[in-house]
């Protein structure tokens, strides 16, 4: 790999690892000190490697320098050093010299502890996702702003406010105990789900960035499946859901970044390996007595990886959507359920059901009606698509709707 490509990737990967370990060591109150030390380490790396070329083992180099900088910092700021040292001594009954443990195990432990810290109901879910991207995934403020389609100032403020809240609430960074896992796993899964969705459904044009978001969500969920205390059925269900969805990532967007509708996707681009992984995690999710929305959505995503348009496929999807709606209403589930109903019971029955939904501020609602009316009343179908076009806010959505309108007009 070119050095130019290697460094940002290496920095992103190692940034979050070292930050997690230092935060775990220092506590949430000193999160900025941890970030400063790591940023400083990377600054030294950029300067030195720029002059002398890459060291033999860049990661080991970064760890050594980060450790030294931490020790120096603690020496220079003796008050902070004493406080931290005392705490650590008290906790571990070890020597006065602080050990900065960058072993694989401690990195994993630190990250797990950080996941549970960041995904805290004390801060809004939007902030949790932003903070997760920053601290757990090593994304820069600009990248997060791009992903959220907003500007740097907004993200910067959001992250700082979130950190402040965590500090004020004296949230401890620690290994989650059984009780925390039971109480907080839901919040953690919601945040990881949002993080994945941000990448998967985002209207941001930057495909590489969106893929990175999905990959990071999968990595963090994987971390939860690898730890015996957090390896719960719901976690595996979420993992299955992500794998099934991600398997179709390449086929969902064309070269110019436009969304390709499911029916038009080239299934040879679907990633078989991820489909198999999805199946594996879905199997592991099928234990216990709790049926979560992740189970149902993973089931729906599984059936979407079966390209053949069988009655069985849509009947299963319909029943999964029925159950999903009974568990938790959402407009998008209501619309997708109606689409599935059209496949199993015919478009006419689906039209009757669709018209009861009354989601009149939702452009997907009018697109669905446009789709359903296409065979019965072309003029009406076009009218629905036109309202959808009027309501849609993203250029990508408007382009898709426009395509439908011209397709219909060409037929008249």
């Amino acid at each position: 790999m070119e050095e130019r490509e290697l460094l940002p990737n290496l920095f992103r990967q190692e940034y979050q690892k070292i930050v997690s370990v230092l935060c775990y060591l220092f506590g949430i109150e000193h999160i900025e000190i941890a970030e400063d030390i790591v940023s400083d380490t990377f600054l030294s790396a950029t300067e030195l490697w720029g002059q002398k070329g890459l060291p033999e083992n860049p990661i080991a180099w970064l760890y050594t320098v980060a450790k030294n900088k931490t020790r120096n910092y603690l020496k220079r700021n003796s008050l902070f050093g004493q406080k931290i040292t005392a705490e650590i001594q008290y906790n571990s009954h070890l020597t006065a010299e602080i050990e900065i443990d960058l072993s694989v195990k401690n990195i994993t432990d630190s990250q797990l502890a950080m996941i549970f810290t960041v995904c805290n109901p004390a801060i809004s879910s939007e902030s949790q996702v932003a903070l997760a991207l920053n601290l757990l995934c090593g994304f820069g403020i600009q990248e997060i702003a791009d992903a959220f389609l907003t500007n740097k100032e907004v993200v910067y403020k959001r992250i700082n406010r979130a950190k402040q809240k965590l500090k004020e609430a004296h949230i401890k960074i620690e290994q989650p105990g059984l009780e925390e896992i039971n109480n907080r796993l839901d919040t953690v899964l919601t945040t990881l789900y949002l993080l994945f969705s941000e990448g998967y459904y985002s209207t941001a044009q930057n495909t590489v960035l969106r893929k990175d978001l999905c990959a990071e969500a999968i990595r963090l969920t994987y971390l939860l499946t690898e730890n015996p205390t957090t390896n719960k059925p719901a976690v595996n269900a979420l993992m299955a859901l992500m794998c099934f969805h991600a398997s179709r990532f390449e086929a969902r967007v064309n070269e110019s970044g436009e969304t390709i509708l499911y029916e038009d996707q080239d299934e040879t681009l679907w990633n078989k390996e991820l489909m198999v992984k999805g199946g594996y995690y879905l199997g592991k999710a099928a234990t216990g007595t709790q049926l979560t929305k992740y189970h149902l959505e993973a089931g729906i995503a599984y059936w979407h990886t079966q390209k053949e348009d069988s009655h069985q496929k849509w009947e299963n999807i319909l029943q999964l959507y029925n159950n999903l709606l009974l568990l938790e209403y959402s407009p998008i589930a209501a619309l997708n359920r109606t689409f599935a109903l059209a496949k199993t019971n015919g478009k006419w029955e689906a039209i009757l059901e669709a018209e009861k939904l009354n989601l009149t501020d939702n452009h997907f609602y009018y697109s669905l009606l446009g789709h359903l009316y296409t065979d019965f009343d072309r003029a009406k179908a076009i009218r629905h698509f036109e309202i959808a076009h009027h309501l849609a806010s993203s250029a990508a959505d408007r382009a898709t709707i426009m395509k439908n309108i011209s397709r219909l007009e060409g037929l008249i």
Partner: protein, 116 residues
């Protein structure tokens, strides 16, 4: 929006009134789609609850008899609480209830709030 109680009743006891196993099998899908359709309109006011088919009846003299059936043949198959604008709206939802195909009926009752 008001809350409405929908009570589905049919004859679960007399032999000749029972649907065939095929009819029952088919009606499962109808029930799921009916529930799903109500949920898709966001009109389900409470989570669904299954009820035991046996039950007890406490009579006037405080005597307890088995079975949910009192004097009439029909007994309650299920109960749901939905949100609807008015009786017309609630009734139109009830008209989709699969129990009607199985010879049953649906009672619709609007919840009265205290302030009224």
């Amino acid at each position: 929006m008001n809350d409405f109680l929908l009570i589905f009743r049919r004859d679960f006891t007399s032999k000749e009134a029972q649907p065939s196993s095929e009819e029952l099998q088919n009606s499962i899908k109808d029930w799921q789609n009916w529930f799903g359709g109500i949920a898709a309109q966001n009109k389900l006011a409470r989570p669904l609850q299954r009820w035991d088919g046996e039950g007890k009846v406490v009579q006037q003299n405080k005597q307890v008899i088995n079975g949910p059936y009192a004097e009439i043949k029909e007994s309650i198959g299920g109960v749901i609480i939905i949100k609807a604008e008015d009786y017309d709206d609630a009734v139109s939802i009830a008209q989709g209830c699969p129990i009607l195909q199985l010879g049953g009926n649906v009672e619709v009752r609007m919840a009265n709030s205290l302030k009224d």
